[in-house]
């Protein structure tokens, strides 16, 4: 969240509500869970860290008193963030370990776990796909939903591979 808010500020000094609007546009339906207060909490933290500063808003600029801007340290941090290539959660490790542990301890049938997980992912896929179809063509938020759909599709394919592998293994319950 901190890096995202900093990067959004790189465009120009902004009010908190402007940052929130830009974030909402970019995230579309996936940003609905975003709490209005989160932006301000983040901005306060960034200010304490010396990455943003603020000036009082001019006359007639509405109820938001502060216009936030990046400090030189903040600009440096944005530049660093843009070059980072870390990728969150490239492997479905948790579920893999769940299957392995369940089979080893004979706690549950791995195939039943795969079935339950598949039902959940299909529901998520249905929701993501509906949201994607509802976006107007060329929508930035639609692109994010497409990413979600493609990842869920890949995860479902992997569940098929899990089903096949655990069906042929001898250590099913």
């Amino acid at each position: 969240m901190q890096d995202v808010v900093l990067a959004l500020l790189a465009k120009e000094p902004s009010h908190g509500y402007q940052l929130r609007a830009r974030l909402r546009d970019a995230l579309g339906p996936l940003g609905e869970a975003l709490n209005d207060g989160q932006i301000y909490v983040t901005l306060t933290r960034l200010e304490k860290a010396g990455l943003v500063t603020w000036e009082p808003a001019g006359e007639g600029e509405g109820r938001d008193r502060k216009v936030y801007a990046l400090t030189p340290a903040g600009q440096h941090r944005v530049a660093e963030w843009l070059t980072e290539v870390a990728w969150p959660r490239p492997a479905p490790t948790d579920f893999h370990l769940k299957l392995t542990a369940a089979a080893a301890a004979r706690l549950a049938d791995p195939i039943a776990l795969v079935d339950a997980q598949r039902r959940e992912l299909l529901r998520l896929l249905r929701d993501a796909q509906r949201a994607a179809l509802a976006e107007p063509p060329g929508s930035v938020a639609g692109l994010l939903l497409e990413g979600q759909v493609l990842r869920l599709e890949a995860d479902l394919k992997w569940l098929d591979a899990c089903e096949q592998a655990w069906t042929t293994r001898g250590d099913r319950k």
């Binding site: 079935d115 039902r119 299909l122 249905r126 929701d127 796909q129 509906r130 179809l133 759909v149 599709e153």
Partner: protein, 232 residues
């Protein structure tokens, strides 16, 4: 509770004899309500295409019953079965199966003409259906001049041309790239909302996710069900 348009009881299909005998469809009980979309998913060779062929009267079961619109299918004469397939069922296949020498609109009107509609009525319906699938500007094109996604949309329009009780689709996006899949996806979603009864057999989770229910098939049997209808 709406009435089932399509129903099977203890449906079974075996291939081969003796030790080599394979049960491709094993005791399948299924009821598809009017206006419902049901997807069947499962690994290659699980029997899902065979199940679809039995539902559509393209193959005869070894045992059990198939009922479409209140009529028993598996006991029909070949003649009655051919008429049922032509008039009451819309088929969509992976490989489109359009007639290469006919234009898009001619392909779409074939089933209606065979069912005895007047050429004028058949043409009007065909043009309307092509408009609905977003191909109003491609009606005079031969299949060879259309993209894969467009061909499949022509095939879907054809499947709808006799206002079938049910549309049966076998891997409808199996030959399509991601963009063309999205076209078919939107179309299936629209058909679903319009109340068309649809059974689709597929590997493609995206197509399956447009359904009210997804049935998982393994070794010829339905083993799991995901209900997607309702909340979203």
């Amino acid at each position: 509770m709406t009435e089932a348009v399509l129903r099977t009881r203890k449906l079974r299909k075996e291939f081969g004899k003796g030790d080599g005998r394979v049960r491709a469809v094993d005791d399948v009980d299924l009821a598809v309500d009017a206006g419902e979309t049901v997807a069947v998913m499962g690994p290659s060779g699980c029997g899902k295409s065979t199940l679809l062929h039995l539902l559509g009267g393209l193959q005869r079961p070894t045992g059990g019953e198939v009922e479409l619109g209140g009529r028993r299918v598996e006991t029909m004469s070949e003649r009655a079965l051919a008429r049922l397939r032509r008039d009451r069922i819309g088929f969509v296949f992976q490989a489109f199966h359009l007639m290469p020498e006919l234009t898009a609109v001619e392909n779409v009107e074939v089933p209606a003409l065979l069912a005895g509609r007047s050429p004028r009525a058949a043409r009007t319906t065909a043009l309307d259906l092509l408009d609905q699938v977003g191909l109003a500007d491609r009606t005079g094109h031969l299949p060879s001049a259309l993209s894969g996604g467009q061909r499949q949309r022509v095939a879907i329009a054809r499947a709808l041309s006799t206002e079938p009780l049910v549309v049966l689709a076998d891997e409808p996006t199996g030959n399509l790239d991601s963009a063309a899949t999205a076209e078919v996806l939107r179309l299936f979603d629209r058909l679903h909302r319009a109340g068309q009864t649809l059974v689709v057999v597929t590997h493609d989770a995206r197509i399956a996710a447009t359904a009210d229910r997804i049935l998982s098939m393994r070794d010829g049997a339905l083993v799991d069900q995901t209900v997607l209808a309702g909340a979203a």
